[in-house]
Symmetry: C2
Subunit: 548 residues, 2 copies
Amino acid sequence: CRCFLTLYFKIIMIVLCNYICSFSMAHTGTHSQPVRSCLLLVVVSVCVQQVHGVWPLPQQLHQSADRGCLSPQRFSFTYGRDSAAQTGCSVLDAAFKRYFSIIFPDFTKGSGLLMLSVKTGGCDGYPDEDSDESYNLSVSEGQAVLRSVTVWGALRGLESFSQLVYQDDYGSYFINKTEIVDFPRFAFRGLLLDTSRHYLPLHAILKTLDAMAYSKFNVFHWHIVDDPSFPYQSRTFPDLSNKGAFHPFTHIYTQSDVMRVIEHARMRGIRVVPEFDSPGHTQSWGKGQPGLLTPCYKGGVPSGSFGPVDPTIDTTYKFMESLLKEVKFVFPDSYVHLGGDEVSFACWQSNPNVRKFMEKMGFGKDFTKLESFYMESVILLGSIQDSKITSIVWQDVFDYHERIPQDTVLEIWKGEKYQAELSRMTQAGHRVLLSAPWYINHISYGQDWRNSYAVQPQNFSGTEEQKKLVIGGEVAMWGEYVDATNLTPRLWPRACAAAERLWSNEEKTLNADLAFPRLEEFRCELLRRGIQAEPLFVGHCKHEYDGL
Amino acid sequence: CRCFLTLYFKIIMIVLCNYICSFSMAHTGTHSQPVRSCLLLVVVSVCVQQVHGVWPLPQQLHQSADRGCLSPQRFSFTYGRDSAAQTGCSVLDAAFKRYFSIIFPDFTKGSGLLMLSVKTGGCDGYPDEDSDESYNLSVSEGQAVLRSVTVWGALRGLESFSQLVYQDDYGSYFINKTEIVDFPRFAFRGLLLDTSRHYLPLHAILKTLDAMAYSKFNVFHWHIVDDPSFPYQSRTFPDLSNKGAFHPFTHIYTQSDVMRVIEHARMRGIRVVPEFDSPGHTQSWGKGQPGLLTPCYKGGVPSGSFGPVDPTIDTTYKFMESLLKEVKFVFPDSYVHLGGDEVSFACWQSNPNVRKFMEKMGFGKDFTKLESFYMESVILLGSIQDSKITSIVWQDVFDYHERIPQDTVLEIWKGEKYQAELSRMTQAGHRVLLSAPWYINHISYGQDWRNSYAVQPQNFSGTEEQKKLVIGGEVAMWGEYVDATNLTPRLWPRACAAAERLWSNEEKTLNADLAFPRLEEFRCELLRRGIQAEPLFVGHCKHEYDGL
């Protein structure tokens, strides 16, 4: 391993997809500083180093051209003396193992040292909405120090550290002198998978969690059931999957599968927020739970088809109470997504009992009031049982009826005018998640990641207080045209654009042209780590995908 | 294995994505007959069989509800006594092995018999433009008989046979009484892969050939080199890939790789037509062949960048002659694609030597004449060496200059007004390939296979003689945004739409709604065979993709 510690070229900035290097001695700067050395650059024709960036961009990154070499034979992770987490910390011990293989894929031992110091323990807990994910990473000669408040912050720092290590053409491992101060811009950085329109095998979900951690996503929004199928195997109502899944044995998630997803996510600092969407999107529920859905009428008699959940009968709420009780028991996160989107009123309207109920409740002909009545009841069911539960609902619930419990989180999914919706919702004092511009199941030809990258979640008219109510956003991969055959290349690296918007400083990361070479490099890194991430444009990676 | 041979339900037609069955006794019909039993159908509530169709649809398919059972323990393929091909026929022996595994994935022996009789031998040859791919398949009790003129027709028949076999819910194998008379509508049914914009590992190409055979494609158009990289390792000019490939060792096709592709294709009745596109799209050529490309000028001096191949100097034609000589030696097919598309004239215009040459040749300022001069010369080089060579060129060559050797095949790639282009080219007496509406590297959200399916290659104004000059078409998967990570799900099943248009009777296959359930079933069959084909819409397959 040949080390050059004194005199080196330093990367200042990436301009127009080309790496431009400037000659400097022991000179440090940040990624965001303007190019000061343009004239010099022309003279320097040999550019010996490529950029080894971090995606998403850390809040503060000072990288020197001085590099130290890492010998995989003697490299080691260690806990600092003052660290609250020590050997035996499940989350970090596993992370050391994982990141060692990622950093040194061909070796079993390493040299150099990363000392990790965590302020608070909590190795056996779950990440939650208040988890502190900040970390400081300092890489100097001989060793690196990673400090964080929580194990979750330590995970983020390990990820950044792993991205800083690179190999030269002779296979030697290097890391540059680096100082990182980092923390997420938003606390909620989610990714939605839809396992109802197509069943996704367990390993497709686990692989997605891996890639999420590489991009610092921290919430897996599991849209687990919907109209087409009910793959969640309920303890309380096993007929829901027995009769509502595509197949009662091969196309379900057993309790053990769900546990595995939650634990895999936990080890990566990722929360699992399940969605049980009602009263619409429940066709598959009806198969295993007779009497739950509204019978539709035609010509004065039941037509044989069914509509949304029947909001007029007690048994519905008893069922929902039992189901939510189970959900809260199975899923440790304090958030549950209760859906509430796209309810069609035609079937309710056709049903004489529903019409009678409407009259009795004084709703007139306004079925949005009926939907609101149902959603309020279900949200209430959730919070009665356990006061810590936070409900998320789709924007429809707010659009219909603004009287929703104040602590309910609203999620925006409708593409048009989401800025106006952000204004209205935050003005009403609700916390908000933005997903509308990140429906990346929608595809188009070319580099559509640039659209995701251009999104500015706090760019709407409102006070500073209102802007703080935007707690984050979600990339959504709905399943109409997606299953395990095309999930991964459709997600990655396209989802990385939103990952950076949700983690990094927006002012430093608005220019997609500057981001392009960094994202290209990160995509090659995803490939190297076994994520089948599709190309951004013409070119190649050192390690191509080889898993056909 | 339980057989029911006397009394059975018969599938008449697929209507609105649902299978509708009618009750009938020993009744036969064709897929194209109208639904006659609609009233009866409503009565029959139990539909015991699903459709087991063939994709692309055979020209004539009579399928009975009578089914015989196949026992994998005793099934066998055999050559008929009168067959010209017998044991030892490389193509068919290998096909028997392959199709046995496809039909009975879990077994090593079978019962039942497929007797195959081929009129002419040719087991060691290559398929070509005149290959007879027709076959007749007759499945009756106890045995099936497959007759064809050539081994290539036998391969098509084996593919159809393999699609007719199905398993019931108890795992028993069945095949219905069936009579098929089949032949392709077009002789040239191609698929283009671009291995220059991204390198495709060998196994990605081989896998594509497998899937092509399942859809009865018969030409692999290998767009092997282009601007970004030159992965073809030339015997004559090794520097072309040494200096022009993305990597001289990991991102190239050796002679042995090329041989393997050609043999893998041959065994499946697929021709390999290489494309060496010039004079444009040759940036990568210039790296290993100094002096080949036109030096661009700026302000009276060479700018350091290069344009298309320099058409003004003798060395260019000597180089092209040697390269084409090698290409014709390496690739057995009598067709070579010579490109000729998208030549930018700016660099030629900037170069004083080129301008001088233009003057000398009397071309004035019309650079299309220079391009035509070059293309004519290169086409001539091809045919001088071996009179059997047929050149294909992109439409630009015809658009610029109609004086092209009459036997040159023209390929249409420009999206707008391809019907008018078909008229003009066939009126000029040229054979034509249609690719413009089948650029399926272009993606959009939803079921875009329907657009490919709606294409009518002979629907243009012209005589019957002109229509016959349309020899086929090609699906193109250009590589700007495609590499091994997303190639397969982007190709399949989307390419199947064009496969049916090119093979089947257009009148019987114009309705995409009728095709939908057949294509859905075929997509599941592709999955079962290990092809990572993406879903058409919400739903599931018995055998999901599991190869993550």
